[in-house]
Amino acid sequence: MNADLMSTIEALQQQTDSAGILEIMYDAIEDYGFERFIISGLPDRGVDVRPFVLLSGWNDEWYERYTSLGYVHLDPVARNCFSTTLPFDWSDAPFDREADLPARRVMDEARDFGMDEGFCVPIHMEGGMQGVVSLVGDTSELDDKSRLELHMLALYAHGQLRFLNTRRTDLAPRRAITSREGEVLKWVAAGKTASEIAAITGLSQRTVNQHCENAQKRLGTNNRVHTVVEAIRHKLIAL
């Protein structure tokens, strides 16, 4: 197995935000001769694509144009994702150049933006949801092995972005203690007494004790040691 691909796959799964994935993807696809990419879900006909976009590595102007004008519903490349499970070259996405003028307009405009060739990986999710990872660049030198590797890379990137998306919406309300309580608990963990913590933080000793008791209540713990242990275990404080 290609060692670079293995480390890219590992790195993708370590990322905790989409900015990290953007950097890794730019680097990784460059090795295969691609410059830009987009990762997105494909909405039903007539539905705005913007909430479905997972990560854009496109030129801003083109992204703006493509998404605001509903091009996803005209684009033969996007359309072809619904009829195949295997990756394909953009040039192999079928459309009638004579009769299908909207499709032709999208393809021609893309060319004006320097995006005349590319490689598209359809992503089929459970329940019939459809996604896409589309790479911009010349495909003529791409062999079967590289195509398979890019296919895998696309699946990993799409999967990790989907995971981060669900996490982002679920994590926010889970913060269990305040930042002040966290700060006090850190000093407790460092072995400081309440009076020492009061001296360090400038709070009164009473307030320090109050913070500890509040954290204890929030975490449902029995004493100060237990509170610190739970706070560390749930990564509410870092030492």
């Binding site: 197995m1 293995m6 799964q13 398979l148």
Partner: protein, 217 residues
């Protein structure tokens, strides 16, 4: 929905369930997915790895069998290291005694329709991670089309290929391993919104003799 664990020695109910599992598997893998190599005249999908060593996780809804999966310990004869050994070029992350091979994952096709993340496969994903933690496994291997990589990673699993992907019967196929951890269980439960345990582990003894994997948070 609940997930029933079947392994030897099985009681009468489990034996009946296992029989239904073999018939349903034949319908799904042979008749629908076209695995002609395992077709049998009695229309039961039973292979060399449906032995006393394997454990079946069977998903029931209102008494009806709707999905399943099979685990075979990696220190016993298994599908990965025999039929699919060509796909394995890398090393396991730990001793084979700490891993199991996950095979024959299915959800009945009428349960996969409609635009939704099927709760059936979510239930099985949760159950398999619960089961692996219970057994003290630290990794689960599988052979699948590469699409599984996207599904697994999207529920917060860490998946590492065991070799390069290859085209098998026109489908891109890979061998890989999934890391078993409390984090992996938390993630799949949160993403699939199935917070409650899927397995009834009470009364079940662990198969493997070594202590359970260290629980990480």
């Amino acid at each position: 929905m609940r997930v029933h664990i079947v392994r030897e020695p099985a009681d009468r109910y489990s034996i009946d369930l296992l029989e239904r599992n073999y018939r349903l598997r034949h319908k799904i893998f042979v008749d629908m997915q076209g695995w002609e190599a395992i077709r049998r005249p009695d229309e039961r999908d039973i292979d060399a790895f449906d032995t006393a060593d394997s454990t079946h996780l069977l998903l029931l809804d209102d008494g009806e069998l709707v999905g399943g999966s099979r685990f075979t310990p990696l220190d016993k004869p298994n599908l990965l290291q025999t039929v699919f050994s060509d796909l394995v070029q890398g090393e396991f992350p730990a001793s084979p005694s700490l891993g199991a091979d996950w095979t024959r994952f299915y959800v009945r096709s009428d349960r996969r329709e409609g635009r939704r993340r099927a709760p059936e496969s979510a239930a099985l994903f949760c159950a398999m991670m619960e089961y692996a933690l219970f057994e003290g496994y630290s990794f689960i291997t599988f052979v699948s089309t590469i699409y599984m990589l996207e599904h697994g990673v999207s529920v917060g699993w860490h998946i590492t290929p065991l070799g390069a992907p290859a085209m098998i019967d026109g489908k891109p196929t890979i061998a890989a391993w999934i890391e078993v951890s409390e984090q992996a269980l938390d993630n799949v439960r949160r993403v699939t919104r199935q917070p409650a345990p899927m397995l009834a582990l009470r009364g079940l003894t662990r198969r493997s003799p070594q202590p359970p994997a260290i629980i990480r948070h």
